[in-house]
Protein backbone atom coordinates (compact mmCIF):
# COMPACT_ATOMS: atom_id res chain seq x y z
CA UNK A 1 0.00 0.00 0.00
CA UNK A 2 1.29 3.44 -1.00
CA UNK A 3 1.03 5.95 1.84
CA UNK A 4 0.65 9.64 1.13
CA UNK A 5 -0.11 12.78 3.05
CA UNK A 6 -2.51 14.42 0.60
CA UNK A 7 -4.04 12.60 -2.33
CA UNK A 8 -5.58 14.68 -5.12
CA UNK A 9 -7.73 12.91 -7.67
CA UNK A 10 -7.64 14.71 -10.98
CA UNK A 11 -5.12 17.12 -12.53
CA UNK A 12 -7.45 19.61 -14.14
CA UNK A 13 -7.55 23.26 -13.04
CA UNK A 14 -8.94 22.43 -9.58
CA UNK A 15 -6.59 19.51 -8.91
CA UNK A 16 -3.44 21.31 -10.04
CA UNK A 17 -4.28 24.41 -8.00
CA UNK A 18 -5.06 22.29 -4.93
CA UNK A 19 -1.68 20.59 -5.31
CA UNK A 20 0.20 23.87 -5.75
CA UNK A 21 -1.53 25.39 -2.75
CA UNK A 22 -1.02 22.40 -0.45
CA UNK A 23 2.57 21.73 -1.49
CA UNK A 24 3.58 25.35 -1.05
CA UNK A 25 2.36 25.05 2.53
CA UNK A 26 4.67 22.07 2.94
CA UNK A 27 2.38 19.10 2.33
CA UNK A 28 3.52 16.13 0.28
CA UNK A 29 1.05 15.54 -2.51
CA UNK A 30 0.22 12.71 -4.88
CA UNK A 31 -2.00 13.48 -7.87
CA UNK A 32 -3.76 10.72 -9.76
CA UNK A 33 -4.61 11.48 -13.37
CA UNK A 34 -6.43 8.99 -15.54
CA UNK A 35 -5.23 10.52 -18.80
CA UNK A 36 -1.73 10.20 -20.19
CA UNK A 37 -1.29 13.95 -19.89
CA UNK A 38 -2.05 16.34 -17.04
CA UNK A 39 -4.17 19.49 -17.28
CA UNK A 40 -7.70 18.12 -17.64
CA UNK A 41 -9.84 20.13 -20.01
CA UNK A 42 -7.46 23.12 -19.96
CA UNK A 43 -5.27 21.55 -22.63
CA UNK A 44 -7.89 22.02 -25.33
CA UNK A 45 -9.07 25.53 -24.48
CA UNK A 46 -7.67 27.90 -27.08
CA UNK A 47 -9.74 30.91 -26.04
CA UNK A 48 -8.81 33.53 -23.47
CA UNK A 49 -10.37 33.04 -20.06
CA UNK A 50 -12.58 35.53 -18.26
CA UNK A 51 -12.11 36.59 -14.65
CA UNK A 52 -9.37 38.73 -13.14
CA UNK A 53 -5.58 38.53 -13.04
CA UNK A 54 -5.79 36.25 -9.97
CA UNK A 55 -7.41 33.60 -12.19
CA UNK A 56 -5.09 34.23 -15.14
CA UNK A 57 -7.75 36.10 -17.13
CA UNK A 58 -6.84 36.92 -20.75
CA UNK A 59 -4.60 33.86 -20.87
CA UNK A 60 -5.68 30.97 -23.05
CA UNK A 61 -6.68 27.79 -21.20
CA UNK A 62 -3.97 25.77 -22.90
CA UNK A 63 -1.38 28.27 -21.64
CA UNK A 64 -2.87 28.27 -18.13
CA UNK A 65 -2.22 24.53 -18.04
CA UNK A 66 1.47 25.28 -18.73
CA UNK A 67 1.54 28.04 -16.10
CA UNK A 68 0.11 25.67 -13.48
CA UNK A 69 2.34 22.75 -14.48
CA UNK A 70 5.39 25.03 -14.21
CA UNK A 71 4.30 25.88 -10.65
CA UNK A 72 3.91 22.18 -9.92
CA UNK A 73 7.41 21.45 -11.24
CA UNK A 74 8.84 24.33 -9.21
CA UNK A 75 7.63 22.58 -6.06
CA UNK A 76 9.92 19.65 -6.87
CA UNK A 77 9.39 16.30 -5.23
CA UNK A 78 6.66 17.61 -2.95
CA UNK A 79 4.21 16.84 -5.78
CA UNK A 80 4.14 13.53 -7.59
CA UNK A 81 1.81 13.07 -10.56
CA UNK A 82 0.87 9.54 -11.58
CA UNK A 83 -0.51 9.57 -15.13
CA UNK A 84 -2.58 6.80 -16.74
CA UNK A 85 -3.92 6.11 -13.26
CA UNK A 86 -7.63 5.96 -12.53
CA UNK A 87 -9.02 6.07 -8.99
CA UNK A 88 -11.66 3.36 -9.07
CA UNK A 89 -12.73 3.05 -5.43
CA UNK A 90 -12.67 5.08 -2.22
CA UNK A 91 -13.23 3.22 1.06
CA UNK A 92 -14.16 4.13 4.63
CA UNK A 93 -10.59 3.99 5.92
CA UNK A 94 -9.52 6.62 3.32
CA UNK A 95 -7.99 3.93 1.15
CA UNK A 96 -8.26 4.57 -2.58
CA UNK A 97 -7.85 1.78 -5.09
CA UNK A 98 -6.30 2.87 -8.36
CA UNK A 99 -5.73 1.21 -11.70
CA UNK A 100 -2.46 1.99 -13.43
CA UNK A 101 -1.93 1.56 -17.18
CA UNK A 102 -5.18 -0.41 -17.46
CA UNK A 103 -3.60 -3.43 -15.80
CA UNK A 104 -2.15 -2.96 -12.34
CA UNK A 105 -4.37 -2.31 -9.31
CA UNK A 106 -2.85 -0.83 -6.17
CA UNK A 107 -3.99 0.84 -2.98
CA UNK A 108 -3.22 4.27 -1.62
CA UNK A 109 -3.71 5.26 2.01
CA UNK A 110 -4.10 9.02 2.32
CA UNK A 111 -4.34 11.25 5.40
CA UNK A 112 -6.39 13.73 3.45
CA UNK A 113 -8.02 13.79 0.02
CA UNK A 114 -9.12 16.40 -2.50
CA UNK A 115 -11.54 15.04 -5.07
CA UNK A 116 -11.16 17.11 -8.24
CA UNK A 117 -12.60 14.65 -10.73
CA UNK A 118 -14.37 17.17 -12.95
CA UNK A 119 -17.45 16.45 -15.03
CA UNK A 120 -18.83 14.55 -17.96
CA UNK A 121 -20.89 15.71 -20.91
CA UNK A 122 -24.61 15.17 -20.99
CA UNK A 123 -26.14 13.63 -24.09
CA UNK A 124 -29.39 14.29 -25.89
CA UNK A 125 -32.09 11.80 -26.88
CA UNK A 126 -33.31 11.83 -30.50
CA UNK A 127 -33.64 9.16 -33.19
CA UNK A 128 -30.26 8.00 -34.52
CA UNK A 129 -28.30 9.92 -31.90
CA UNK A 130 -25.78 7.05 -31.89
CA UNK A 131 -24.57 7.57 -35.47
CA UNK A 132 -20.86 8.13 -35.91
CA UNK A 133 -20.27 11.81 -36.56
CA UNK A 134 -22.40 12.79 -33.59
CA UNK A 135 -19.92 13.82 -30.93
CA UNK A 136 -19.77 15.55 -27.61
CA UNK A 137 -18.44 19.09 -27.89
CA UNK A 138 -15.54 18.18 -25.63
CA UNK A 139 -14.63 15.30 -27.92
CA UNK A 140 -14.58 17.61 -30.92
CA UNK A 141 -12.30 19.95 -28.99
CA UNK A 142 -9.96 17.10 -28.11
CA UNK A 143 -9.82 15.91 -31.67
CA UNK A 144 -9.09 19.30 -33.22
CA UNK A 145 -7.17 21.13 -30.51
CA UNK A 146 -5.13 18.32 -28.99
CA UNK A 147 -4.55 16.12 -32.06
CA UNK A 148 -5.05 18.62 -34.87
CA UNK A 149 -7.63 16.43 -36.59
CA UNK A 150 -10.75 17.88 -38.21
CA UNK A 151 -13.95 16.26 -36.98
CA UNK A 152 -15.55 16.87 -40.40
CA UNK A 153 -16.36 19.62 -42.89
CA UNK A 154 -19.82 20.89 -41.92
CA UNK A 155 -20.96 21.04 -38.32
CA UNK A 156 -24.27 21.68 -36.63
CA UNK A 157 -23.85 22.64 -32.98
CA UNK A 158 -26.53 21.74 -30.47
CA UNK A 159 -26.31 23.97 -27.41
CA UNK A 160 -25.70 27.70 -27.16
CA UNK A 161 -24.10 27.67 -23.73
CA UNK A 162 -20.50 28.80 -23.30
CA UNK A 163 -19.08 25.48 -24.47
CA UNK A 164 -21.31 25.32 -27.55
CA UNK A 165 -20.46 28.79 -28.81
CA UNK A 166 -16.79 28.56 -27.87
CA UNK A 167 -16.34 25.22 -29.63
CA UNK A 168 -18.20 26.60 -32.66
CA UNK A 169 -15.75 29.50 -32.81
CA UNK A 170 -12.84 27.08 -32.42
CA UNK A 171 -14.20 24.93 -35.25
CA UNK A 172 -14.15 27.99 -37.50
CA UNK A 173 -10.59 28.76 -36.42
CA UNK A 174 -9.68 25.25 -37.56
CA UNK A 175 -11.19 26.03 -40.97
CA UNK A 176 -14.41 24.07 -40.47
CA UNK A 177 -17.83 25.38 -41.44
CA UNK A 178 -20.43 25.76 -38.69
CA UNK A 179 -23.87 25.88 -40.32
CA UNK A 180 -25.80 26.91 -37.19
CA UNK A 181 -25.90 26.76 -33.42
CA UNK A 182 -29.20 25.82 -31.87
CA UNK A 183 -30.59 25.68 -28.37
CA UNK A 184 -33.95 24.60 -27.01
CA UNK A 185 -33.88 27.47 -24.51
CA UNK A 186 -35.48 30.77 -25.58
CA UNK A 187 -32.28 32.66 -24.76
CA UNK A 188 -28.58 32.14 -25.39
CA UNK A 189 -26.96 30.64 -22.31
CA UNK A 190 -23.40 31.63 -23.19
CA UNK A 191 -21.75 34.88 -22.26
CA UNK A 192 -23.14 37.16 -24.94
CA UNK A 193 -19.70 38.41 -25.99
CA UNK A 194 -18.93 34.83 -27.05
CA UNK A 195 -22.22 34.61 -28.93
CA UNK A 196 -21.53 37.93 -30.68
CA UNK A 197 -18.12 36.67 -31.82
CA UNK A 198 -19.90 33.85 -33.60
CA UNK A 199 -22.83 35.92 -34.87
CA UNK A 200 -20.55 38.39 -36.64
CA UNK A 201 -18.88 35.48 -38.44
CA UNK A 202 -22.30 34.88 -40.00
CA UNK A 203 -23.22 31.81 -37.96
CA UNK A 204 -26.93 31.86 -37.08
CA UNK A 205 -27.80 31.14 -33.46
CA UNK A 206 -31.25 29.56 -33.34
CA UNK A 207 -32.84 29.70 -29.90
CA UNK A 208 -36.04 27.69 -29.23
CA UNK A 209 -34.82 25.00 -31.64
CA UNK A 210 -33.95 21.36 -31.14
CA UNK A 211 -32.83 18.30 -33.11
CA UNK A 212 -35.70 16.15 -34.26
CA UNK A 213 -33.62 13.38 -35.75
CA UNK A 214 -30.34 12.50 -37.36
CA UNK A 215 -30.25 10.89 -40.78
CA UNK A 216 -27.57 8.56 -42.11
CA UNK A 217 -26.56 4.94 -42.55
CA UNK A 218 -22.95 4.46 -41.47
CA UNK A 219 -22.38 8.07 -40.46
CA UNK A 220 -24.55 11.12 -40.00
CA UNK A 221 -25.47 12.75 -43.32
CA UNK A 222 -28.08 15.26 -42.19
CA UNK A 223 -29.99 16.50 -39.20
CA UNK A 224 -33.58 17.62 -39.01
CA UNK A 225 -34.11 20.60 -36.76
CA UNK A 226 -37.39 22.06 -35.57
CA UNK A 227 -38.66 24.90 -33.44
CA UNK A 228 -39.96 24.25 -29.94
CA UNK A 229 -42.65 26.07 -28.02
CA UNK A 230 -42.28 27.53 -24.53
CA UNK A 231 -42.82 24.06 -23.07
CA UNK A 232 -39.98 22.71 -25.23
CA UNK A 233 -42.43 20.74 -27.40
CA UNK A 234 -41.64 20.49 -31.14
CA UNK A 235 -43.81 22.72 -33.34
CA UNK A 236 -45.05 20.69 -36.33
CA UNK A 237 -44.26 22.11 -39.73
CA UNK A 238 -41.11 23.95 -38.60
CA UNK A 239 -38.67 21.23 -39.67
CA UNK A 240 -35.51 22.22 -41.50
CA UNK A 241 -32.92 19.81 -42.82
CA UNK A 242 -29.21 20.56 -42.53
CA UNK A 243 -26.78 18.45 -44.52
CA UNK A 244 -23.87 18.00 -42.13
CA UNK A 245 -21.22 15.40 -41.41
CA UNK A 246 -20.85 16.37 -37.77
CA UNK A 247 -23.46 17.03 -35.13
CA UNK A 248 -21.91 18.37 -31.99
CA UNK A 249 -23.75 17.95 -28.69
CA UNK A 250 -23.16 20.57 -26.04
CA UNK A 251 -26.12 20.38 -23.71
CA UNK A 252 -24.31 20.73 -20.43
CA UNK A 253 -22.12 18.87 -18.02
CA UNK A 254 -22.78 16.73 -14.95
CA UNK A 255 -20.48 16.59 -11.94
CA UNK A 256 -18.36 13.44 -11.80
CA UNK A 257 -18.10 12.47 -8.15
CA UNK A 258 -19.13 8.83 -7.67
CA UNK A 259 -16.00 8.27 -5.58
CA UNK A 260 -17.32 10.64 -2.93
CA UNK A 261 -20.72 8.97 -2.94
CA UNK A 262 -18.99 5.63 -2.51
CA UNK A 263 -17.00 6.97 0.43
CA UNK A 264 -20.28 7.88 2.11
CA UNK A 265 -20.06 11.64 1.70
CA UNK A 266 -23.45 13.28 2.10
CA UNK A 267 -24.69 14.13 -1.41
CA UNK A 268 -27.58 16.19 -2.65
CA UNK A 269 -29.20 16.66 -6.04
CA UNK A 270 -28.89 20.37 -6.81
CA UNK A 271 -30.20 21.35 -10.25
CA UNK A 272 -28.47 24.74 -10.07
CA UNK A 273 -25.14 22.92 -9.89
CA UNK A 274 -26.17 20.48 -12.64
CA UNK A 275 -26.39 17.26 -10.67
CA UNK A 276 -25.71 15.34 -7.52
CA UNK A 277 -23.05 17.16 -5.50
CA UNK A 278 -21.42 16.76 -2.10
CA UNK A 279 -22.51 18.88 0.84
CA UNK A 280 -19.51 20.87 2.08
CA UNK A 281 -18.24 23.72 4.22
CA UNK A 282 -17.24 27.07 2.76
CA UNK A 283 -13.68 25.74 2.61
CA UNK A 284 -14.71 22.81 0.39
CA UNK A 285 -14.59 20.11 3.11
CA UNK A 286 -17.27 17.43 2.94
CA UNK A 287 -19.07 15.92 5.93
CA UNK A 288 -16.13 13.54 6.30
CA UNK A 289 -13.22 15.41 7.90
CA UNK A 290 -10.19 15.55 5.63
CA UNK A 291 -12.18 14.78 2.48
CA UNK A 292 -12.40 17.85 0.24
CA UNK A 293 -13.96 18.56 -3.13
CA UNK A 294 -13.09 21.21 -5.71
CA UNK A 295 -13.98 22.22 -9.24
CA UNK A 296 -16.75 20.79 -11.40
CA UNK A 297 -17.02 17.70 -9.17
CA UNK A 298 -18.65 20.02 -6.64
CA UNK A 299 -21.01 21.60 -9.19
CA UNK A 300 -20.65 22.87 -12.75
CA UNK A 301 -19.03 26.28 -12.93
CA UNK A 302 -16.31 28.11 -14.83
CA UNK A 303 -12.64 27.07 -14.83
CA UNK A 304 -11.82 30.32 -13.03
CA UNK A 305 -13.80 29.29 -9.94
CA UNK A 306 -12.48 25.74 -10.22
CA UNK A 307 -8.95 27.08 -9.86
CA UNK A 308 -9.83 29.24 -6.85
CA UNK A 309 -11.68 26.34 -5.20
CA UNK A 310 -8.61 24.21 -5.82
CA UNK A 311 -6.31 26.77 -4.16
CA UNK A 312 -8.73 27.03 -1.23
CA UNK A 313 -9.20 23.28 -0.77
CA UNK A 314 -5.45 22.66 -1.03
CA UNK A 315 -4.68 25.37 1.51
CA UNK A 316 -7.23 24.08 4.02
CA UNK A 317 -6.45 20.40 3.48
CA UNK A 318 -2.75 21.07 4.12
CA UNK A 319 -3.58 23.17 7.19
CA UNK A 320 -5.55 20.29 8.69
CA UNK A 321 -2.46 18.15 8.26
CA UNK A 322 -0.46 20.65 10.28
CA UNK A 323 0.99 22.66 7.40
CA UNK A 324 -0.28 26.10 8.30
CA UNK A 325 1.47 28.93 6.48
CA UNK A 326 1.95 32.25 8.27
CA UNK A 327 -0.49 33.99 5.98
CA UNK A 328 -3.07 31.21 6.18
CA UNK A 329 -5.99 33.37 7.25
CA UNK A 330 -5.23 36.12 4.72
CA UNK A 331 -4.98 33.62 1.88
CA UNK A 332 -8.13 31.86 2.90
CA UNK A 333 -10.03 35.13 3.00
CA UNK A 334 -8.55 36.12 -0.37
CA UNK A 335 -9.77 32.91 -2.03
CA UNK A 336 -13.21 33.25 -0.45
CA UNK A 337 -13.39 36.84 -1.67
CA UNK A 338 -12.36 35.78 -5.19
CA UNK A 339 -15.09 33.14 -5.26
CA UNK A 340 -17.64 35.61 -3.98
CA UNK A 341 -16.63 38.12 -6.68
CA UNK A 342 -16.78 35.54 -9.48
CA UNK A 343 -20.25 34.47 -8.38
CA UNK A 344 -21.70 37.81 -7.36
CA UNK A 345 -23.13 38.99 -10.69
CA UNK A 346 -26.32 37.98 -12.46
CA UNK A 347 -24.63 35.05 -14.24
CA UNK A 348 -23.72 33.77 -10.77
CA UNK A 349 -27.32 33.79 -9.52
CA UNK A 350 -27.79 30.12 -10.22
CA UNK A 351 -24.47 29.15 -8.64
CA UNK A 352 -25.16 31.19 -5.50
CA UNK A 353 -28.56 29.57 -5.13
CA UNK A 354 -26.97 26.14 -5.55
CA UNK A 355 -24.19 26.91 -3.09
CA UNK A 356 -26.71 27.82 -0.39
CA UNK A 357 -28.25 24.37 -0.73
CA UNK A 358 -24.94 22.55 -0.31
CA UNK A 359 -23.52 24.29 2.77
CA UNK A 360 -22.84 22.12 5.79
Amino acid sequence: MKEVELLIIGSGPAGLCAAISAASSGARVLILERSFRPGGQLIKQTHMFFGSEAQYASHRGVDIADILLDKVRALGDRIEIMLNTTAVAFYEDNVVTALKDEKEYFKIKAKSIVCATGAFEKSLAFPNNDLPGIYGAGAVQTLMNVYGVKPGDRVLMVGAGNIGVIVSYQLMQAGIQVVAVLDAAPRIGAYLVHASKLARMGVPILTSHTVKEAIGTDCIEAAVVCEVDEKFQPIPGTETRYDVDVLCISVGLSPLNELLAMRGVEMKYVPQLSGSVPMRTETCETCIPGVFVAGDASGIEEASSAMVEGYLAGLCAAAKLGHVPEDFEARKQDYLKQLEDLRSGPVGDRIRAGMKLTQL
Partner: protein, 101 residues
Amino acid sequence: MRITQHPILTFNRGKEIHFTFNGQPMTGYEGETIAAALHAAGVKVLAKSLEKHRPRGFYCAIGNCASCQMVVDGEPNVRTCITLLREGMTVETQEGKGKIK
Protein backbone atom coordinates in the same frame (compact mmCIF):
# COMPACT_ATOMS: atom_id res chain seq x y z
CA MET B 1 -8.32 15.51 -42.47
CA ARG B 2 -5.55 17.04 -40.44
CA ILE B 3 -5.36 20.68 -39.51
CA THR B 4 -2.29 22.10 -41.17
CA GLN B 5 -2.43 25.72 -40.03
CA HIS B 6 -4.08 27.15 -36.96
CA PRO B 7 -4.20 30.72 -35.63
CA ILE B 8 -3.55 29.71 -32.02
CA LEU B 9 -1.96 26.27 -31.95
CA THR B 10 1.01 24.58 -33.51
CA PHE B 11 0.86 20.83 -33.83
CA ASN B 12 4.23 19.21 -33.34
CA ARG B 13 3.46 15.76 -34.61
CA GLY B 14 5.74 12.99 -33.42
CA LYS B 15 7.36 10.37 -35.62
CA GLU B 16 5.21 8.29 -37.92
CA ILE B 17 3.64 5.17 -36.45
CA HIS B 18 2.51 2.31 -38.66
CA PHE B 19 -0.46 0.15 -37.73
CA THR B 20 -3.22 -1.78 -39.45
CA PHE B 21 -6.96 -1.21 -39.44
CA ASN B 22 -8.92 -4.32 -40.45
CA GLY B 23 -5.78 -5.49 -42.20
CA GLN B 24 -5.18 -2.25 -44.12
CA PRO B 25 -1.86 -0.48 -43.48
CA MET B 26 -2.36 2.94 -41.84
CA THR B 27 -0.12 5.70 -40.58
CA GLY B 28 -0.51 7.90 -37.55
CA TYR B 29 1.81 9.87 -35.31
CA GLU B 30 3.47 9.15 -32.03
CA GLY B 31 1.55 10.73 -29.17
CA GLU B 32 -1.88 10.42 -30.70
CA THR B 33 -4.65 8.02 -29.85
CA ILE B 34 -5.89 5.21 -32.08
CA ALA B 35 -9.24 6.97 -32.56
CA ALA B 36 -7.60 10.27 -33.53
CA ALA B 37 -5.36 8.58 -36.11
CA LEU B 38 -8.30 6.65 -37.56
CA HIS B 39 -10.41 9.81 -37.73
CA ALA B 40 -7.60 11.63 -39.51
CA ALA B 41 -7.66 8.81 -42.07
CA GLY B 42 -11.42 9.20 -42.50
CA VAL B 43 -12.41 6.13 -40.46
CA LYS B 44 -15.43 7.01 -38.36
CA VAL B 45 -17.08 3.64 -37.76
CA LEU B 46 -15.13 1.95 -34.97
CA ALA B 47 -17.51 -0.74 -33.75
CA LYS B 48 -20.93 -2.32 -34.13
CA SER B 49 -23.39 -2.26 -31.28
CA LEU B 50 -24.17 -5.34 -29.21
CA GLU B 51 -27.64 -6.27 -30.38
CA LYS B 52 -28.67 -4.27 -33.41
CA HIS B 53 -25.20 -4.05 -34.94
CA ARG B 54 -25.53 -0.33 -35.43
CA PRO B 55 -22.38 1.58 -36.32
CA ARG B 56 -20.50 3.17 -33.42
CA GLY B 57 -18.04 6.03 -33.59
CA PHE B 58 -16.25 7.74 -30.76
CA TYR B 59 -18.30 10.14 -28.68
CA CYS B 60 -16.56 11.53 -25.59
CA ALA B 61 -12.82 11.23 -26.39
CA ILE B 62 -11.97 10.94 -22.69
CA GLY B 63 -12.64 7.28 -21.98
CA ASN B 64 -16.07 7.76 -20.40
CA CYS B 65 -18.63 6.43 -22.82
CA ALA B 66 -17.37 3.14 -24.30
CA SER B 67 -18.57 3.99 -27.82
CA CYS B 68 -15.08 3.66 -29.31
CA GLN B 69 -14.18 0.18 -28.08
CA MET B 70 -12.23 -1.81 -30.65
CA VAL B 71 -10.18 -4.97 -30.87
CA VAL B 72 -6.52 -4.01 -30.50
CA ASP B 73 -3.79 -6.63 -30.89
CA GLY B 74 -6.49 -9.24 -30.43
CA GLU B 75 -7.82 -7.74 -27.19
CA PRO B 76 -11.45 -6.55 -27.30
CA ASN B 77 -13.03 -3.56 -25.53
CA VAL B 78 -9.99 -1.28 -25.83
CA ARG B 79 -11.07 2.35 -25.47
CA THR B 80 -9.36 3.69 -28.56
CA CYS B 81 -10.03 7.33 -27.73
CA ILE B 82 -7.56 7.16 -24.84
CA THR B 83 -5.16 4.47 -26.06
CA LEU B 84 -1.99 5.71 -27.71
CA LEU B 85 -0.80 4.30 -31.01
CA ARG B 86 2.13 1.92 -30.94
CA GLU B 87 4.20 0.71 -33.86
CA GLY B 88 2.82 -2.48 -35.41
CA MET B 89 -0.56 -2.39 -33.66
CA THR B 90 -3.40 -4.31 -35.23
CA VAL B 91 -6.71 -2.49 -34.84
CA GLU B 92 -10.02 -4.05 -35.81
CA THR B 93 -13.66 -3.03 -35.81
CA GLN B 94 -15.37 -4.67 -32.87
CA GLU B 95 -18.57 -6.58 -33.51
CA GLY B 96 -20.68 -6.70 -30.37
CA LYS B 97 -19.06 -7.77 -27.13
CA GLY B 98 -15.86 -9.15 -28.57
CA LYS B 99 -14.22 -12.35 -27.39
CA ILE B 100 -11.74 -12.38 -24.54
CA LYS B 101 -8.99 -14.89 -25.29
